[in-house]
């Protein structure tokens, strides 16, 4: 377990978090495989877009 996650990059951690939370939300809120997959894909992409967007918004303050 430590080998898998101990050396995870920040982006890798974001990808993993987005994936498992999207899947869980999809199974909590939707019925049927197609609906769940669609919801999970959208939620996953939304997590990534928002995280990368906020990252870029904060970029000027890191200088």
């Amino acid at each position: 377990m430590n080998v898998l996650f101990g050396s995870l990059t920040h982006f890798g951690a974001l990808l993993f978090f987005a994936l498992v939370v999207s899947l869980t939300f999809a199974f909590l809120s939707k019925y049927g495989i197609a609906e769940r997959l669609k919801y999970a894909a959208w939620a996953f992409l939304a997590f990534l877009l928002v995280a990368i967007g906020i990252g870029w918004l904060m970029y000027p303050f890191s200088q």
Binding site: M1, N2, L4, F5, G6, L8, H10, A13, F16, F17, V20, V21, L23, T24, F27, L28, Y31, G32
Partner: protein
Amino acid sequence: MKMEVVKGNQTMGIIAAIAGWVVPGLGHLVLRRWSKAAVYFLCIGGLACAGLAMRGGVFGGASEDLFDRLGFFADLGAGVFYFLAHQLQAAGPDVAHATGDYGTRLFAAAGMLNLLTVLEAYEIGRGGEPR
């Protein structure tokens, strides 16, 4: 699409909720929601284990700090992963580094997600819902 409705009662709801809190997905397993049980166990268990492997901190209940107490309740939601945290995390927490700090958030997120699945298990067990 025709939905099959499963009848339940208050006792079944409480049993499913407690089982789901103790082990993520177990409440849905009791209710024979196989796919949900598997996904919840893998996702929430994976998130909790990842948080511990990243050497995230686990909040104790004795703190006077409000943020620590919120963290304690979030972590407690992870059920068995909270109680086994010290065994699973042999090296102990290291929140001085960003990875450890992320691990703390991942573990708390696992607890909060599990509380959502517990509520769903209770709802299914209590009154039934479409599959």
